[in-house]
Amino acid sequence: MPGLRRLYAPQRVAVRTDPRGAPTTVEGHQVETVREEWLVEDRWWTSKPLRRHYFELALGDGRALTVFRTARGQRWYRQRA
C-alpha cells in the first residue's frame, strides 16, 4: 500500500563472527561483549517459518545493539527494539 511503511523493520548489517558463530564486529565496529544470546523458532506452521539466532551486544564505543542471524541464507540483521 502506498504511503505505509513498516516501522522498526530489521536492517541488513555486515557482521564478522568468531568460529563459534558469535559476532566479533558489526559494520566494522568492535564487539566488546555478548550480553545475551537467544533463539526464536516460531511460525513453523505457516509458509513463512521464523528461525532467528539473536545476540544482544555491547560495542566498543559503548552502544548497545541487537542483531540476529537467519537460519536460511545466514544473513545478519540489526533489530531496533
Binding site: 537467544w38 533463539l39 505457516t46 544482544e56
Partner: protein, 1124 residues
C-alpha cells in the same frame, strides 16, 4: 558427566510430547547413566518410566515438578491466619503459583512425595461440576513433607526463584528460597539453572548464581526437556496451545519458543552450561545420591497378606462349601484332590489372605445387592455378581463364591490363573449389574478406608478424530472445515495417510494443500497414542494395608465419592498392587431386570442357575443366527458364523464366544475350526489333524486350533517343553507389545524345545506362527465359560420370555450391538407387540403390560415404551406424572393432565410430539397436532413457586381444524422424539415410491448365489474390523429383516462419506450364499432417493421428504478397532 534432573513426558498432560518409553530409550541411546522424570504434579508416568529405564540398563530418578501456592508478600507468620478449611483450599491461590522440582532420595522421600501430591490434588474437584482445576500445594505443606526429598528451586519461567526474577520480584524469590533452604537443609536444596535460549538467560542465571552464593548452596544445571527429540518440538508447541484452548499464535508467550527444550546429549548439555561447569558437576553428584528405585522399594502389601491364620481359615471355608456343593457328586474325589492342590499352591505363594479378601468383598457385595434389589425382588435368588476371566477356572474361587462355574464339571485348567512360579498377583475380575456396582464402589472405600482404597486410573489417548479437532483449533483452521473433516474421520482411521484421504475427500485436493492442513497431518501422526488427560478405569480398584497415599498419590475422580491412584492398570500391575476389577456388565443388569419383570408379569420366580442347559428351541435359534440382543453372539460376525459352526451344547457355545476375537482370527483358527466341525458333522469318524501328536490333548476341544488364551501356554509347554512360567512369560511378552527382543528370544527357545521333542522345524514354525498370530488377544477358557453361560441364558430368555427380554434390553441401553430401533423391529417381526409411550399407560421405564393389569389390553403381553424414552423430558416430571396417575387415576383430558401431573410445558410438548398424549381423552382422535394445540392453551408456562398461576383443569375449547400429522409425519416425530418407531418401518412407508426392481431382505433366501441385486434399507450398524483387511461391513434393515453388506476397500474408497454417515442407503451388488449365510458383496452404493414422483399427497401435496427422515433416524452404531 551431566545427568538430566528435570524432564517432562506426555504425562505432564499437554506439556510434554514424548512417552516415558521414548524418553528412556533416547536417554539410553545418548549415553545417560541416569535420568529423572519430573512431570507436572504427578508420578503418572513414573512407574512406566522406571521399568523402561530398567530395561535399558539406566537408572530412573523419580520426581515431580510441583505447583506451589505463593502467598501475597507478607510476614511469613501469616500461617495461622488462614484456616485449612475446604473453602479456602478450593479458591484459586491469591498470590499466584510457582514451580518446584522435587526429586526422591529415599523411601521416606517417596512417601512424602506421594502425600504431597495427594494434598496438591485434594481440592482439584471442589466445584459443583467436579471438573478438574489446577492442583497446587501450599509452601507450608512442602515444608512439612521435605524429608527424603531433594528440592531444586524450579524452572526458568515459573520456578520459585527464577520465576520471581522474571516477574521482577527478586526479594520475594529470595524469601521463598530461604524458606526452602530452611526446610530442606543445605544438603537437599539447590538453585536450579536452566538455559532455554531465551532473551534473559544470562541475566537470570547471573542473579541465580549470586543468590546461591548468598545462600551458600550449590547451583545445579537442568535441561527441562519436553520431548525426546528435536523433531517433536512443533508438537510440544501445539500441545501447549491445545492445553490453553488457544491458537498457536495466541499461545506464543507460553510456548517454549524454540526447539532446545528437547533431550540433548550429556556432552551437548555440558557445552550449553560452559559458563557453569560446577552446576553440571553438581547434577552428576546429586544423581549419584538419588538411588531410590521405584521398581523395588515401594513397600506395598495387600490387606490380609500378613494374617498368620489365613491359610487355615481359607481351607476351612473351602472344605465347608465342598461338602455342600459336591454332596453325592461322582466327581467329589476329583474336586477334593483339586482343592488340596490349589490350597497347597496358594499357601506356598502366601496368597490365602488374598482370597479371603476377595471373599470379604463378595460378602460386602451381597449386602449391597440385598439393599439395591429390595427384600421382595425376584432378583434375590441371583448371586450379587459373577466372576469373569481366568479366575473362573479355580475351585477355590468357585467354593468361595467368586465364580459361578463349576471348574471340575467344566474341565477348566487353573494353571494360568495360579501356578507356583507366578510372580504377580492373580487377577480376579468380577462382573456386577450396573446398579449394584454403583453402590458397591463407594462402599469399598468405606470398608477399607478412603486412604487405603482407590480406583485405578486410565489415560484416554489421542485418536484420529480428537487429533483433528484439537490440532485444527490450535492451528487456527476454520471451525467449519475442522468439523467436516473430523466428522468424516470417524474412528476407523488409524494413520495420518488415512486422515489425509478423508481430508481430500471432505475439502477437496486444493484446500488439502494448505500448509496448515499439511502440518496438521504431520502432527496428527505424532500425537496419536499420547495421553490427553487422566480419567478413571471403569472398575479396577486397589486396596492396601498401609495408606495408599504412601505408595502412590491419590486424586479425586470426576464422580463424587470416588478417587483414583495416579497409575493405570499396567503401572498398578508393575507395582504389584492387588487390583480387583468390579466391572459393570450391561447384560447382567438386563438379565436381572428381565427376571424381575417376569416375576411381575407372570408371577414366576425364575432361578437362572436352574434352567435347562440343553433347551432345543434355544439352540435352534442360535444355529439359525436369530440372536439379536443375545449376549456376545448377536454381533454381525457371530451371526455370520453361527449357521456354519452349528453349536449344539454349552461347550460349543463356550468355544463360539471365544472364536470371534482378534487372537483366533489372526492366528488362523477360524476357517480350520469351521471346516472341521462341518467334516465331523458329516462323518463322525473324521480324524481331526493335529500339527504334532503332543498337541492333541491340548487342542482337542477346539479341533486342533488355538482358540483360548491358555492354549498358547499349554501348546508351548506340550510342544516345546516350556515350563509354565516360561510359557506365561511368552504370553506376556506378546500381549503387552513391549518387547520384540523378548519374543525373538522365546522363538529361539521354542524352536529348540520343539526339535528336542521330535517336531520338524516346519511344524514348529507353523505352531509358532499360530501362537504369534494369537498374540494374547483372546479369551481364557474360563472367561469364555462365564460369558458363554450368560449368552445361553440370554438366548433362553429371548426365546421363552420374549417381551420381558426386549423390555429389559430397552431399559438397559446403551448396550450391545444394535440400537433400540433395530431391537424393536426385530422383535416385532417375531410377533412381539410393542406400544408407543402413553401418558395413561407408560411408566418412566419400559414395562410389560399384562391383560390382567390393563383391562383393555387383550391377547397377551405388550411391551410399553416408557415415558423416559422421550428425549428431553425431565425424569422427575415423568416420575411425578406416573405417581399422580397411580394415586388419582387415569387422566381424562389434556387440561386435567396439565393441571394434575406437575409437568411443565416443554416436557408436555415433547410428550405430545412423541404421541404419548394420543387418545386423551379416551376416544378422541389420535392426533398429535391437536394434542399439541391443547397443551399449548392449557399448560402453565412453567412450574415455579406457589404463587404461579396453575393450569386450570378446564377443558379448552375445541381446537381449530388442524391437519393430522399423517403416517409420515408421525414417523419423523417418532424418530425425533424417541429415536425409534414402534409403528410402520420407514421402508414400508417408502416402498410405494421406490423402484419396484429393488429386492427386499426376505427375497434373498430364494435368490441364487451370484445373482445381481439391488436393495435398499436403513443402516443399523457399520463395522470396519482391524482384522478384515480394509473390508467394511454394513447392516442394512428393511421392513422384512436385515442383510449384511460387504463393502470391499475399493468401493469403500469411492463412497467413503456414504458408508460412514448416510442412514438410508441403496446398494447394488452380488448375492453370496455360503453354508446358509447370505451376504451382498457391494459394487455400488447410493443414498436412497425416491425413484418416481409420488402421487401428489391429497392434503398438502408435500413431497415425501427423505431428507427429513435422514435428519432424524438413528445413526446406527459404528464399530471400529475398539469393536467388542
Amino acid at each position: 558427566m551431566y545427568v538430566e534432573l528435570h524432564a517432562h513426558s506426555a504425562f505432564s498432560f499437554l506439556d510434554g510430547a514424548s512417552t516415558p518409553m521414548e524418553l528412556a530409550a533416547a536417554a539410553a541411546a545418548q549415553g545417560y547413566p541416569a535420568f529423572a522424570l519430573t512431570d507436572h504434579d504427578g508420578v503418572w508416568g513414573s512407574m512406566e518410566f522406571a521399568h523402561a529405564c530398567r530395561g535399558f540398563g539406566i537408572r530412573a530418578i523419580t520426581g515431580t515438578e510441583l505447583t506451589v501456592e505463593l502467598r501475597p508478600a507478607g510476614p511469613v507468620s501469616d500461617r495461622g491466619l488462614s484456616l485449612p478449611g475446604e473453602s479456602s483450599r478450593s479458591s484459586p491461590p491469591a498470590g499466584g503459583t510457582a514451580h518446584l522440582t522435587l526429586l526422591v532420595e529415599d523411601e521416606t522421600g517417596y512417601r512424602n512425595l506421594c502425600r504431597l501430591l495427594t494434598l496438591a490434588h485434594s481440592h482439584t474437584r471442589d466445584n459443583t461440576t467436579r471438573s478438574q482445576t489446577q492442583p497446587w500445594a501450599t509452601l507450608e505443606q512442602v515444608e512439612e513433607h521435605a524429608e527424603g526429598l531433594v528440592c531444586l528451586s524450579g524452572c526458568a519461567r515459573e520456578g520459585a526463584a527464577a520465576g520471581a526474577f522474571e516477574r521482577g520480584d527478586t526479594a520475594g524469590g529470595e524469601r521463598v528460597a530461604r524458606r526452602l533452604l530452611a526446610a530442606f537443609g543445605r544438603d537437599r536444596f539447590r538453585i536450579e539453572l536452566q538455559r532455554p535460549y531465551w532473551r534473559r538467560d544470562r541475566a537470570r542465571n547471573r542473579w541465580l548464581g549470586l543468590l546461591a552464593e548468598r545462600l551458600d548452596v550449590p547451583c545445579v544445571a537442568t535441561g527441562n526437556a519436553h520431548s525426546h527429540d528435536r523433531r517433536r518440538a512443533p508438537l510440544q508447541d501445539a500441545l501447549v496451545a491445545i492445553g490453553r484452548c488457544e491458537t498457536l499464535e495466541e499461545s506464543e508467550p507460553h510456548r517454549r519458543g524454540n526447539s532446545t527444550s528437547s533431550l540433548a546429549s550429556p556432552a551437548a548439555m555440558a557445552a550449553r552450561f560452559a559458563e557453569y561447569p560446577e552446576a553440571v558437576a553438581e547434577a552428576e553428584r546429586l544423581a549419584e545420591r538419588l538411588r531410590f528405585d521405584l521398581t523395588e522399594q515401594l513397600g506395598y502389601r495387600y490387606p490380609g497378606s500378613e494374617d498368620a491364620g489365613a491359610d487355615a481359615e481359607l481351607a476351612r471355608v473351602c472344605n465347608h462349601h465342598l461338602g455342600e456343593r459336591y454332596a453325592g457328586s461322582a466327581r467329589l474325589l476329583e474336586a477334593q484332590w483339586r482343592l488340596e492342590e490349589e490350597l497347597a499352591t496358594i499357601r506356598k505363594l502366601g496368597l490365602s489372605g488374598f482370597f479371603l479378601l476377595h471373599r470379604d468383598l463378595l460378602e460386602l457385595a451381597r449386602e449391597v445387592a440385598a439393599e439395591v434389589r429390595g427384600p421382595e425382588s425376584a432378583r434375590n435368588v441371583l448371586p450379587p455378581g459373577r466372576g469373569r476371566g481366568s479366575s473362573v477356572s479355580s475351585i477355590v474361587c468357585y467354593l468361595t463364591g467368586l465364580s459361578h462355574v463349576d471348574p471340575v464339571e467344566a474341565d477348566l485348567f487353573a494353571g494360568r490363573f495360579l501356578n507356583e512360579e507366578t510372580t504377580t498377583l492373580p487377577d480376579i475380575d468380577l462382573d456386577f449389574p450396573r446398579d449394584i456396582r454403583e453402590v458397591l464402589i463407594p462402599r469399598v472405600h468405606e470398608r477399607w478406608g478412603a486412604d487405603r482404597s482407590a480406583l485405578v486410573a486410565a489415560f484416554p489417548t489421542y485418536r484420529p478424530k480428537g487429533a483433528v479437532r484439537d490440532l485444527g483449533k490450535a492451528l487456527g483452521l476454520p471451525p467449519g472445515e475442522i468439523d467436516r473433516v473430523a466428522k468424516t474421520v470417524g474412528f476407523h482411521e488409524r494413520t495420518a495417510a488415512e486422515i489425509e484421504r478423508d481430508l481430500v475427500a471432505s475439502l477437496g485436493p486444493e484446500r488439502a494443500k494448505e500448509p496448515r492442513w499439511r502440518v496438521l497431518l504431520e502432527l496428527a501422526d505424532e500425537i496419536m497414542g499420547l495421553p490427553r488427560h487422566s480419567s478413571q478405569h471403569p472398575g479396577g480398584m486397589v486396596i492396601s494395608t498401609r495408606p495408599l497415599i504412601d505408595v502412590c498419590p491419590v486424586v479425586p475422580a470426576a464422580m463424587k465419592g470416588r478417587q483414583t491412584v495416579q497409575w493405570d492398570k499396567d503401572s498398578c500391575a508393575d507395582a504389584g498392587f492387588l487390583k480387583i476389577d468390579l466391572l459393570g456388565l450391561g447384560m447382567l443388569s438386563a438379565v436381572e431386570r428381565c427376571v424381575e419383570e417376569i416375576g411381575r408379569t407372570r408371577g414366576e420366580r425364575l432361578d437362572l442357575s436352574r434352567i435347562p442347559l440343553d433347551d432345543a428351541e434355544t439352540f435352534e435359534s442360535i444355529r439359525a443366527a436369530e440372536t439379536t440382543g443375545v449376549f456376545q453372539i448377536e454381533s454381525r460376525a457371530q451371526m455370520q458364523m453361527l449357521p456354519r459352526t452349528q453349536p449344539r451344547d454349552l461347550d460349543d457355545l463356550i468355544v463360539q464366544v471365544a472364536l470371534v476375537r482378534p487372537g483366533p482370527i489372526q492366528g488362523g483358527a477360524i476357517h480350520p475350526y469351521i471346516e472341521r466341525r462341518k467334516l465331523l458333522r458329516e462323518d463322525p469318524e473324521y480324524k481331526v489333524p493335529y500339527p504334532h501328536p503332543s498337541l492333541e490333548p491340548v487342542l482337542e476341544e477346539t479341533l486342533g486350533t488355538i482358540v483360548f488364551q491358555e492354549q498358547v501356554i499349554e501348546s508351548a509347554m506340550a510342544l516345546a517343553g516350556f515350563s509354565s512360567s516360561e510359557a506365561e512369560g511368552l504370553r506376556r511378552a506378546m500381549s503387552r507389545k513391549r518387547s520384540e527382543e523378548a519374543i525373538a528370544e522365546h522363538h529361539r527357545r521354542f524352536l529348540a524345545g520343539a526339535a528336542a521333542n521330535g517336531a520338524s522345524e516346519e511344524v514348529a514354525e507353523k505352531v509358532w506362527n499360530q501362537i504369534k498370530g494369537f498374540a494374547g488377544y483372546g479369551f481364557p477358557k474360563a472367561h469364555s465359560a462365564a460369558f458363554g453361560l450368560l449368552s445361553y441364558q440370554s438366548a433362553w430368555l429371548r426365546i421363552h420370555y420374549g417381551p420381558e427380554f426386549l423390555c429389559s434390553l430397552l431399559n438397559e441401553q446403551p448396550m450391545g450391538f444394535y440400537p433400540p430401533d433395530s431391537l424393536v423391529h426385530e422383535a416385532q417381526r417375531r410377533g412381539i407387540r410393542v406400544a408407543a409411550p402413553c401418558a395413561n399407560r407408560s411408566r418412566v421405564l419400559c414395562h410389560v403390560e399384562t391383560p390382567r393389569e390393563e383391562g383393555d389390553v387383550r391377547g397377551g403381553l405388550v411391551v410399553r415404551v416408557g415415558l423416559g424414552y422421550v428425549k428431553g423430558v425431565k425424569k422427575e416430571e415423568m416420575e411425578a406424572l406416573v405417581a399422580e396417575r397411580e394415586r388419582g387415576g387415569r387422566y381424562e383430558g389434556i387440561a386435567e393432565l396439565a393441571s394434575r401431573a406437575g409437568v411443565g410445558l416443554p416436557s408436555l410438548e415433547r410428550l405430545a410430539w412423541a404421541g404419548a398424549l394420543d387418545g386423551i381423552p379416551v376416544g378422541s382422535e389420535d392426533d398429535r397436532r391437536q394434542a399439541l394445540w391443547q397443551v399449548g392453551v392449557t399448560a402453565a408456562g412453567r412450574i415455579a413457586g406457589a404463587d404461579t398461576q396453575l393450569a386450570l383443569p378446564m377443558e379448552p375449547p375445541a381446537p381449530p381444524e388442524l391437519e393430522p400429522l399423517g403416517e409420515w409425519g408421525k414417523l419423523i416425530a417418532d424418530y425425533r422424539s424417541t429415536g425409534m418407531t414402534v409403528e410402520k418401518h420407514p421402508l414400508k412407508l417408502l416402498r410405494p415410491g421406490l423402484d419396484p426392481n429393488l429386492v427386499r431382505s426376505s427375497d434373498l433366501a430364494r435368490l441364487d448365489h451370484g445373482a445381481r441385486i439391488e436393495i435398499a434399507g436403513m443402516v443399523t450398524a457399520r463395522q470396519r474390523p482391524e482384522t478384515a483387511n480394509g473390508v467394511t461391513f454394513v447392516l442394512l434393515e428393511d421392513e422384512r429383516g436385515s442383510v449384511n453388506l460387504v463393502v470391499p476397500p475399493a468401493v469403500y474408497e469411492r463412497h467413503r462419506p456414504l458408508v460412514r454417515t448416510v442412514p438410508l442407503l441403496r446398494a447394488r451388488g452380488r448375492l453370496e450364499r455360503r453354508e446358509g449365510v447370505v451376504n451382498v458383496l457391494v459394487s455400488d452404493l447410493a443414498p436412497l432417493e425416491r425413484d418416481k414422483p409420488s402421487k401428489p399427497r391429497p392434503r398438502n401435496g408435500r413431497e415425501l421428504a427423505i431428507a427429513e427422515l435422514r435428519a432424524v433416524t438413528p445413526v446406527g452404531h459404528s464399530f471400529g478397532r475398539r469393536g467388542r
